[in-house]
Amino acid sequence: MSRPNDGTLDRREVVAALMRDPGDLLVVTGLGAATYDVGVTGDRPLNFYLWGAMGGTAMIGLGIALAQPSRRVLVVTGDGEMLMGMGSLASIAAAGAPNLAIAVLDNMRYGETGSQYSHTGHTTDLQAVAAACGWTRTATARSMDDVEALRPRLRTENLFAVLRISAEEKPRHLPPRDGAYLSDRFRRALGVVED
């Protein structure tokens, strides 16, 4: 079932563009399809995939950004996961983290659970929510040209971006899900492990 205002972007193309030439970008992904989408672009130690902790992705991003102010942090998550942690948009804006950006893959649905409509499929505009929370830089991408224009901004600005993807489901790609492994390799890649 589709709606007239459904997004049209292919989520795998969008994430492939965001993750192209990642360099030393620190990436946190929200549970479900965002984790699969980032994983399929190539596993790397500086990707921290969530398989649970729904609603926590953006705040993990904030914690990394505050701890590593000279590094760039990108949060990639879905609309349902972002909605569960909507208060964190206020907390992050209040904290101030110039090195943190959030990209929300918005298909207006809970894809993992049967594609029920989320609040963005009803009445909620996450870009407007972020702006009202005090994010001064927000954007919505509706075309791949928009995505390409946002790609460098997501690596340089304190930007909240909504990417209007289609509801098409993709094959699952399963990156590592052992949290202790993911945490340890991330910290080792950053060089912050104390032996």
Binding site: G63, L66, G85, A95
Partner: protein, 172 residues
């Protein structure tokens, strides 16, 4: 200072444990620590809309190589339960100081159910729980709990009893 208050000693213990990020949902019993954190250029104090944000914040801080503490009231513990799977699954430290309500001279009956459930709920969720009742034991307990959390990479909660912090007085 010759005779620091126990609150001052707790802040000193957090500093000695190399805590540099402090997340909080405000509580009167944490007011000293919150003010001290905001006044300290070497501490990043982060106000949160709900307590589970603090668990994710602390996880991120650990991933980035820094140590965080989370301040909350017992009523907020109930908001945290699923998010506690994050430090447990990822073998990360989590240190929280919880001011207790609903247990000692409580005026507000709405505080009582979560106050009574705080310790068993934390234990059921896999958190190691310590409880401080006397001013002279708090700072040492915080220091030992910080060592336990950060060195053994486990979640630890220190409950600050309502008798210790003083029951909130409601005046008409």
């Amino acid at each position: 200072m010759d005779n620091p208050t126990w609150q001052e000693s707790v802040y000193a213990a957090l500093k000695a444990a190399r805590v540099t990020i402090l997340g909080y949902v405000p509580d009167a019993g944490h007011a000293h620590l919150i003010n001290a954190a905001h006044a300290d250029p070497a501490m990043q104090a982060v106000v949160l809309t709900t307590e589970e944000e603090g668990i994710a914040l602390a996880a991120g801080a650990w991933l980035g190589g820094q140590r965080a503490v989370m301040l909350m009231q017992s009523s907020g513990v109930g908001n945290c339960i699923n998010m506690l799977s994050l430090p447990l699954n990822c073998r990360m430290p989590f240190l929280t100081l919880v001011t207790m309500r609903g247990e000692w001279g409580e005026f507000n009956p709405w505080q009582v159910p979560m106050g009574a459930a705080t310790q068993p709920v934390l234990t059921a969720a896999g958190v190691h729980v310590r409880r401080a009742d006397r001013p002279d034991e708090v700072a040492e307990m915080v220091a030992a709990s910080a060592a336990l959390a950060f060195d053994s990479q486990i979640p630890v909660a220190v409950l600050l009893s309502q008798r210790l912090i003083g029951a909130k007085v409601f005046v008409k």
